[in-house]
């Protein structure tokens, strides 16, 4: 009984917060419709208990019990330049505390090829409302309820975006008064269009909860390359829900590099809706201290001849913790599906922890599906072999752990991002740190 009361209080706190949020932001009718739908879904779902399917391995109790504030979007910051990748100087969307900042964003290089707007069109509103009806992730509902705007990015049919678009999510952070930020995006990639996007999450200091939701509508024959870099400070929560709809012969390739924090949760829901659609999801994390990264993935093969590949690698040291819960669902009729799923964990300490749940649900009879998970330590024979060639044990260990993680980093197509990850994510594996 006391549990129920406590739970109610937690949810009530967010409902109260929402009242203030609405008063301050005065959303238009389109946004209000989203908010209301999301909020009622939030009330139905409630915060996850420890046996909740989506959050079995993820302890969200502290997060749910935190009294967040919702920031006013006027906060001024500078010093974002160092987070903008070379080549994206004139093609970056900057979100400060969850809200698109028009003055910091620089769009000269993509103005002619990309249309960026707020949520206005009825079709878009309907799209979001339909997806909310089926939203089972309570935190995604929360993000929808608290978004100050929905940024719609549209690449027209046959549009070729010459430069990568960077989306930078900056949080100012405040440890004494943690804030919840809910950036909300809708990507509409037209027929035969091509776009490359780099999403980066950073914080000026600890004490915030970035709760991002994005929908991708990838039309026939289009191609998307999405790279995500999570590098928040330790005391920041980072949740994201990425929902992807892929049409005939379209491709969506993504790579996620997470350096972890007190809690990072990446949720991908991908629907291969028409023949020949293809998705690649890769991910790598390097965790130390008490850092955590959790991946929750659902891939729905809804049409024949679709391809899905997933490869996730985690290197976990100290008391780090990761989980991977991934299911590939092959619907009836989705013949000639080709689906792969592989998770590799390298455990470097006695106290680190990894949970893996690779799943296949197949309702078609002519498919090629494979899945697997490994949890291992540094291979002693490999270590010895390298030592017999004169490499010190420490150096050989570093080489082996680095090469383990590097294979995913190398799938990232932007040299600037790879260079950065070499100096940040992979740096965590250096001799003095292992």
């Amino acid at each position: 009984m006391s549990d129920t009361l406590e739970k109610l209080t937690e949810e009530t706190a967010f409902l109260d917060l929402h009242k203030n949020f609405v008063e301050e932001n005065k959303p238009n009718s389109a946004l209000s419709a989203i908010h209301e739908s999301a909020l009622s879904r939030f009330e139905v779902l409630g915060f996850p208990h420890s046996k909740h399917e989506m959050y079995t391995y993820v302890n969200t109790k502290k997060l749910a019990a935190t009294a967040f504030a919702v920031s006013s979007p006027s906060e001024k910051i500078d010093l974002i330049d160092k987070h903008i990748y070379s080549g994206c100087e004139n093609s970056c969307l900057v979100f400060v505390n969850g809200v698109l900042d028009q003055t910091l964003s620089r769009l000269q290089a993509i103005e002619s090829s990309v249309k960026i707007s707020s949520l206005e069109e009825k079709d878009d509103v309907d799209t979001l409302l339909v997806s909310l009806e089926n939203e089972n992730d309570v935190f995604a509902c929360l993000a929808n309820a608290f978004c100050a705007d929905v940024t719609v990015v549209e690449i027209p049919d046959k549009g070729q975006v010459a430069v990568p678009i960077q989306v930078l999510f900056v949080s100012t952070g405040d440890t004494s008064r943690p804030e919840m930020h809910s950036p909300r995006l809708l990507w509409k990639v037209g027929k035969l269009a091509e776009v490359k996007v780099i999403e980066k999450f950073v914080g000026m200091q600890e004490g915030y909860f970035t709760n991002m939701v994005q929908d991708w509508k990838v039309a026939e024959g289009a191609g998307v390359i999405l790279t995500q870099v999570q590098s928040d400070p330790f005391g920041a929560w980072n949740f994201q829900k990425t929902r992807v709809h892929i049409k005939r012969n379209a491709r969506f390739h993504s790579a996620n590099a997470s350096s972890g924090s007190v809690l990072v949760h990446n949720h991908f829901e991908v629907r291969l809706e028409e023949e020949g659609a293809e998705v690649i999801l890769n991910g790598v994390s390097v965790l130390k201290g008490k850092e955590q990264v959790h991946n929750f993935i659902r891939i729905h093969h809804e049409a024949p001849q679709c391809i899905s590949h997933q490869h996730f690698k985690n290197v976990i040291n100290d008391e780090g913790r990761s989980s991977f819960d991934g299911t590939v669902i092959v619907n009836q009729g989705a013949q000639l599906t080709n689906a792969n799923q592989l998770i590799n964990n390298l455990m470097l300490s006695d106290d680190c922890h990894a949970d893996n749940k690779p799943n296949l649900m197949i309702f078609a009879d002519d498919v090629k599906c494979a899945h697997g998970a490994t949890i291992g330590q540094i291979d002693e024979e490999q270590l010895f072999y390298l030592q017999t060639r004169g490499l010190s044990k420490k150096f050989a260990k570093e080489l082996l752990t680095r090469s383990f993680a590097e294979s995913i980093v190398q799938t990232i197509q932007f040299p600037e991002v790879v260079k950065e990850l070499n100096n940040t994510l992979l740096k965590k594996l250096e001799v003095e740190n292992v």
């Binding site: 024979e381 490999q382 060639r389 490499l391 082996l400 090469s403």
Partner: protein
């Protein structure tokens, strides 16, 4: 150069080497032959410093230093090279980069500067050519997906890059077809000079047609039961090990 005195050693508490003494001098080639299970590979593991293998008695010195006190990497730096019977696959570590790191580890410990990457590439190309190795083996990961023959060639390539004083080749001939055996043997012969030494551990006499040993030792049940010159190897080839190994 290498002095083994009454060596007793084993793994997991069981004694496999039961008193081996052997002296190897500069410029010499020693072949250690013996039936399966005689302790040949255990001897190689002990000499290369494998952490799972344990010495229970005896002494091994290399250039007057206690070899058994040294870690595997220290032995390599000191000039001992071990050619593995089963070279380990290391996915994710580029072969050429690994070879350069190994080469540099040796140079740095000798107080020399690291080699210029372009110079090393030239050196590597030249050594690979003599071993008949295709260029693609530079780009590939260390032994990852190599055929048995290419793995053994890659071992000899490492030996060529590291220029050891003492090389111990453990069953380098096994798994090689006759052409690959000839190429590998020629590669080894090219690296030979009066200042280095070689220990060949092998089950078959075949290798010794290409690399001529000065001494042949027969190992059985953890002991050297007979030593001789290369004619001993021929006798073993024609008559097998039975005439020589103790029956119990």
């Amino acid at each position: 150069m290498l002095e083994i005195k009454d060596l007793h050693a084993g793994v997991d508490g069981s004694e496999i080497i039961k008193g081996i003494s052997l002296s190897v001098n500069k410029g010499e080639i020693h072949a250690i032959m013996g039936p399966n299970g005689s302790g040949k590979s255990t001897l190689a593991k002990i000499l290369s410093g494998h952490p799972a293998y344990e010495t229970t008695a005896g002494k091994v010195t290399f250039d007057a230093k206690d070899l058994l006190e040294m870690d595997a990497e220290e032995r390599s730096i000191a000039g001992v090279f071990m050619g593995f019977q089963y070279p380990v696959e290391v996915p994710g570590v580029n072969n050429a980069e690994f070879l350069r790191m190994a080469h540099n580890a040796r140079r740095v410990s000798a107080g020399e500067e690291e080699i210029d990457p372009l110079d090393f590439d030239e050196l590597l190309s030249e050594k690979m050519k003599t071993l008949g190795m295709e260029k693609k083996y530079k780009e590939r990961n260390l032994n990852d997906g190599f055929s048995g023959g290419e793995k053994k060639k890659n071992e000899i390539l490492q030996m060529a890059i590291l220029e050891p004083k003492l090389a111990i080749l453990d069953e380098t001939d096994s798994g090689l077809d006759i052409d690959a055996l000839r190429i590998v043997s020629e590669g080894v012969n090219k690296l030979r000079n009066n200042n280095n030494a070689l220990i060949l551990i092998t089950h078959y006499q075949r290798l010794l047609d290409y690399i001529k040993p000065d001494f042949v030792h027969v190992l059985s049940k953890g002991k050297i039961i007979k030593s001789g010159d290369k004619s001993l190897a021929l006798e073993l080839e024609s008559q097998g090990y039975d005439w020589i190994t103790p029956v119990n």
